[in-house]
Structures are given as C-alpha cells and as structure tokens.
C-alpha cells in the first residue's frame, strides 16, 4: 500500500459504515419509541421519573453506582428466579429515563426493579430500609460500601427528635444523644431507588416475547 489517500478513503468509509450501521440504523429502528398507552385504563407507561427521583438519578450518576450495579433484567438467566424483576426488561421501559445506565458489572445486585423488591411494604418503611443499606449496610446484612457521607450525625434537639432519623440498633446506632438524619441527597437517591420498578405488562411486548404456541413450533 503506497497511496496515502487510498488509506484515508478506506478508513473514512469504514468509520462512516460503523456509524451508519451501529448507531444510525438502530436509531431509525426505535429512536422514536415512545411510552405505551394502556388500552383499557388510558394510563401512560413508562410515565417518567418524578422531580425528586430525577434528582436522585443525578446522585446515582455522581456516586458512580453503575460501576457495580446493572439495570437490566435478562431472559435465559437466573435474573427472574432471583426476583430481580417479574419480567425481562424491554427497550420501552427506558424511553423516559433521561440517562440510561444499563451497567456492565454485577458486583452488586441488579437494581432495575429494586423499588418493587420488598413487595407491599409501607413507603416509609421501605425508605428506611434503603437508608439503612446506604448508611450502615451491615445492619441489614448487605455487603457493600457504606455511604455515611450522605447522612448527618447530629445532637438531638431536646424534645424535638427528627422524624426522619434512622432507627438504628446495635453497632450502627449513633452515640446516646445523637441521631442520624438523611441529607437531601440521600432522600433524593432513595426516592430514585424506590421509583425503579417496571411492573407494567405491555400488551405488545408481552405478546412479542411470549413463547410460540406448542402446535406451531417448527412449523416451517
């Protein structure tokens, strides 16, 4: 190969091809995918993240949670048995997430449906559980780095203990006369985590991903 121009043109073609095939084609295919409207109730799914939860996503980004946590439930693996979701994740689930962090490592568990993991528990109790995971993971038998910097440990105002103070016991409990109160960042992060639940069954996607009826198998 002697011709510099030819090398350049070749590389340019490959680069253009790579962009067109890998990015432009999927964009044309489902870049315009929007939320689905329930045919019976008329409700919109996914609805998008609420204000506080959207702030929480910024905290999630800033702390780099995606380093160890994925947000995708796969078929053909143990994800469903592990109760990381009642169904696999569909592309439509993400269309209203401003920032999509599917993640690439599962040193920690998948979080796509972490907001539905405890089942029907009162919201306040659920938030308390998240706060304990973040402030003192060992208090709920979780093996993860603690994020104590998201919490204020402060002296209790006599007669005016904060209603937000964590109810910690054992080694995680603060010294007598002190309380552990979540900062606004911790509250936003927990609001985000509790908002993570893909529980809606899209009629379209469910149909598309359903196994074929037995009598049609191998029909071709």
């Amino acid at each position: 190969m002697k011709n510099g121009l030819l090398i350049f043109v070749g590389l340019f073609t490959l680069a253009a091809l790579s962009w067109a095939v890998m990015l432009l084609a999927p964009h044309r295919q489902y870049g315009g995918l929007g939320p689905a409207v329930d045919p019976v109730e008329g409700s919109v799914h996914p609805y998008g993240t609420s204000g506080l939860a959207a702030q929480g996503r910024l905290v999630y980004q800033d702390l780099g949670c995606a380093t160890c946590h994925t947000q995708q439930v796969r078929l053909g693996t143990a994800d469903l048995e592990r109760k990381w979701g009642a169904r696999p994740s569909y592309a439509r689930d993400y269309v209203k997430d401003g920032v999509v962090l599917l993640g690439s490592s599962r040193l920690g568990p998948d979080l796509r449906n972490v907001g539905a993991r405890l089942g029907d528990v009162p919201a306040a109790e659920y938030a308390e559980w998240f706060h304990k995971v973040l402030y003192a993971p060992s208090s709920v038998a979780a093996r993860k780095p603690a994020h104590p910097f998201l919490y204020d440990v402060r002296p209790v105002n006599p007669g005016q203990a904060s209603h937000k103070a964590l109810r910690l016991t054992g080694s995680a409990a603060p010294a007598a006369g002190f309380e552990v109160v979540p900062t606004p960042r911790a509250e936003a992060l927990v609001a985000y985590l509790t908002s993570l639940k893909d529980t809606y069954e899209y009629p379209d996607e469910t149909k598309r991903n359903a196994p074929p009826p037995a009598d049609q198998k191998g029909g071709h």
Binding site: G4, I7, L11, G64, V95, L101, S104
Partner: protein, 483 residues
C-alpha cells in the same frame, strides 16, 4: 528518495526534532501511570474489603474505579500514544517534526483536560457513561488538544519523503483517525443531544469497544510492526499478507461493539452483528501471528535479551490471547455466564495494558536513550519492570477470567443467595489486588529510570548500561515485500 537505508545522521536529525515533544508526552504519561496504578489498586482493594476508604466521598468505589480507568486511558494511554506516534511517524516518513513547540502547548491542554476530568469524577460531576465519565466542561478542551496533536501526526505523514507506506503507518493513521470520530459522535449522541432510551447504551458500547479495538490495539500493533524488523534486522515475515490483516482487523473492530450488549434490551441484531464480527477475528489473528511471530522465528533468545523486544513479545502474546478470548466469550452461551462479571474488565485490561501499554514500554526503552543520548541508568530496574509487568498482567488476567466464570456460574444459580457470592469471590479479587501491586512496583521502577534518564539536570555521568543492545540497524521498511 525511498532509500530503505536512511543514513544514521539523517535519523539522528529527525529524532532531534521530536525530542522535547516526545519526552514531555512520555513524562506526563509516566506520571499518570503511577497515579492511575495507585487509584486502580485502591479501587481493587475496595472490591474485597468494602470498608476501605468508604467513609471518604471522593474515594467512594463508584468514583475511584472509573477515575482510575480514566487516568490510565486518557492520562497514561493517550500521552504515551502521542509520544510514540509522533516519534514513529517522523522516523517512518523520514520527515522532521516541524514547529514541535506547539505540541508542548497542546500537550499541556490535554493534561489539564485530563486533570480537570479526573477531579470532576472524584468530586461528583461524573456523567457515569463508561469511559466518558469526564464532566462536559473538559470535552472541548480535550478535543481541541487532540486535534492539535493528531494534526502533527498526519501532516508529518503527508510531508513524508518515502514512497512506501509501512504497516506501522497504516495502524497509526487508523488510530489517529478513529479516536476523534468515536469521541465526538459519542459526546454528541450522549451529552449534547442525547438519544432516548437504550440507544444510549449502544452508543456507549460502540465508543468503549472502539477505544480498545480501534485506538489502543492498532497502536500496539504499529509499535510491534516497527521494532521487530528493525531490531532483528530482517523484514516482516510474509509482509504481503499484512494489508489483509490490517483491513480485516479494522473492519471487525468497527462492528464489534455489540458483544457488550448480549441479552440487553436493544434490537437483537446489534449484539448478533458484534458476535458475527468476532467470529471473523481469526483471520487477522493468524496474519498478525504469521507476520510478527514469524519475524521473531528462531530468534526468541535474541529478542528476549532486548527489553524493547521482550515487552513487544508480551504485547503480541496479549493480542493473540485477547483475540481468542474475545471470540470465545462472545458466543451467546458463554456470554450469558461471562457478562457482568470480573471477566469483561479483564479482557479490556488485556487490550489496554497487555497489547498497548507493554508495547509502549518497549518503545520507550528504545526511544528515550536516542533522544537524550544517555542509556538507562539501571538495567536491574528494567528487568524488575519487565517481570512485574508480565507477572502482574498474567495474574490479573487469569484471576479476572477464572473469577469471572466462577462469579457468572454463581450468579446464574438461583439457589445461591446473592450475599454468598462476594465472599466466594474474595480470593480472586484479592489476587487481582496482588497483581496490581506487582504492576505498581513495575511502574515505579519505570518512573525512576525514566526520570533519571530524561531529567536535563543529570549530566550524563552515570554508568552507561547498554540495555537496548541491538545496534540501531537501518529500518527494513518492508522494502523487500514491496519489490
């Protein structure tokens, strides 16, 4: 003008024009290498001892781990790549590097950009997109600095005084061309005018895969293609197959990103395309093995005596291992176990450290003495660097792969509670920390030797330790093959 035997004086003249830019880039690279190695070690310790530095927000694992990789990629990797590309391109084009002073300025901008980016990630302004974590305000700085640096590589090439274009030059041009393409498109599609939904994951996978297969791996190969024939004094074995290997490898590389998205909620043809291009990788692997291992041939003993060639040997072996492992682990059945474990990061490390960094170390051991006119101060440190790099790389890769498969098997076994997986992995995670300690020792040895040799204050009184033993043979610039 295409005399394969350029005169020694001419070469020295060309080298002299590259001296300060190359030394400045290498110096910054070595600085970031030491910093990145320490960060990476800290992040690795956190994986088996989660309490380590956890109280300190700036060094929370989710910040430290990406910051470490960013330092190693943009701080060490890019600076070293700039140094080696500029020097190689000037030598191979028989053209002096003109107005190199601008490069010093551009290099400052690049390093300021990296510094701000790393502080941004540690301070909580991370975007959280893999390898694109640097906050937005660094992007223009990095692009402008990159443009000012790469333009020198390309103009040096277009002002070449040779007729042939050698294999190393193809690979250098490919890398110089692909990075700005990948980076600017990824920035626009993720941060400037973000695409919606899981398209973002496709863009990021495309970028990350491109950084390894279209930037670091071509650069590693460019170094190997240059130094093997030069130091062994014979042309590349079966050189006429090299263009095929080059175009085929780049073609596979541009479509490989999909293998990072197997089973992800994206159109299923995206990962399938990645798997298909991984299946086409054997051909370039065979060509590169024939070209490079064939050139070493029966001279392995002679090659092992030269630090440059022993590092390059490590790079070639890593490239072949990377290729084979990429093919194997992209199969759907294997990927279902392998993805989301320690393994994929081990493969990326094999590309960044195994293929590129070792080749860059080898190149530095050759280049620096020729720029400073002084030999390396301590051959013992050179040996220490080689062995700690080789052992650290080997241990890290094996621990990541074996630990990764074990982790994958446990993750996919619903009868194993999630909380039991971490303790089961602890030995492998600890082995990775040991590997990184070894690597960090090597980095320190390299840094001491480098600053000793490159520092202008040292008057050159130190005992010359002739470690780059083979004489500076004229480069057989693939001339025979072009006859």
């Amino acid at each position: 003008m295409n005399s394969p035997v350029s005169s020694r004086a001419e070469q020295e003249q060309i080298d002299a024009t590259t001296k300060w830019p190359v030394l400045a880039f290498l110096g910054s690279a070595v600085f970031w290498l030491v910093v990145g190695g320490v960060f990476q070690l800290g992040a690795s310790i956190q994986t088996h001892s989660p309490t380590f530095l956890a109280e300190c927000e700036w060094f929370a694992h989710g910040r430290l781990a990406p910051a470490a990789l960013d330092v190693l990629v943009y701080g060490w990797g890019f600076n070293a790549a700039f140094a080696v590309s500029l020097w190689l391109m000037a030598r191979l084009s028989l053209a002096s590097l003109r107005h190199g002073g601008w490069l010093l300025i551009a290099g400052k901008f690049w390093n300021i950009g990296v510094f701000l980016g790393v502080v941004g990630v540690l301070g909580g302004w991370s975007t959280s997109y893999e390898l694109l974590e640097f906050p937005r305000f660094t992007v223009l700085l990095l692009i402008a600095a990159y443009a000012m640096i790469a333009v020198w590589v390309v103009t040096t090439f277009s002002l070449r005084n040779t007729e042939n274009v050698f294999a190393s030059q193809w690979y250098l041009l490919a890398a110089a061309f692909f990075f700005p393409w990948l980076y600017s498109i990824a920035q626009v599609m993720l941060l400037k005018a973000p695409v919606a939904g899981t398209l973002q994951a496709i863009v990021d996978a495309w970028y990350v895969s491109g950084i390894y297969t279209l930037w670091f791996i071509p650069l590693g190969l460019a170094i190997a293609y240059y130094f093997l024939p030069k130091l062994l004094g014979r042309p590349i074995n079966l050189y006429y197959t090299a263009p095929l290997g080059f175009w085929w490898l780049i073609s596979c590389g541009v479509l490989l990103g999909g293998i990072r998205l197997i089973n992800a909620p994206v159109p299923v043809w995206v990962p399938t395309l990645g798997i298909a291009s991984a299946l086409l990788l054997p051909l370039p692997l065979v060509v590169v093995a024939l070209n490079l291992l064939g050139t070493i041939g029966r001279d392995a003993g002679r090659a092992a005596a030269s630090p440059t060639l022993s590092f390059i040997g490590l790079s070639i072996v890593s490239f072949l291992a990377w290729g084979v492992l990429t093919i194997v682990t992209s199969a759907r059945g294997v990927a279902t176990t392998f993805q989301f474990t320690l393994g994929p990061a081990g493969l990326d490390w094999l590309a960044l450290y195994g293929v590129f960094s070792t080749a860059a170390f080898g190149a530095a051991y050759f280049i620096v003495p020729r720029l400073t006119g002084r030999e390396w101060a301590s051959p013992a440190l050179v040996r220490a660097h080689f062995w700690s790099a080789a052992l650290g790389l080997g241990l890290f890769t094996v621990a990541s792969l074996v630990g990764g498969f074990k982790q994958g098997a446990l993750l996919n076994d619903p009868s194993v509670p999630f909380g039991d997986i971490g303790p089961a992995l602890a030995p492998w995670l600890a082995a990775r920390s040991v590997a990184l300690i070894l690597g960090a020792i090597g980095h320190l040895a390299f840094a001491v030797n480098f600053f000793w040799a490159a520092c202008p204050v040292n008057s050159g009184k130190c005992r010359p330790a002739v470690v780059s033993a083979p004489p500076d043979l004229p480069a057989p610039v693939g001339s025979e093959a072009h006859a």
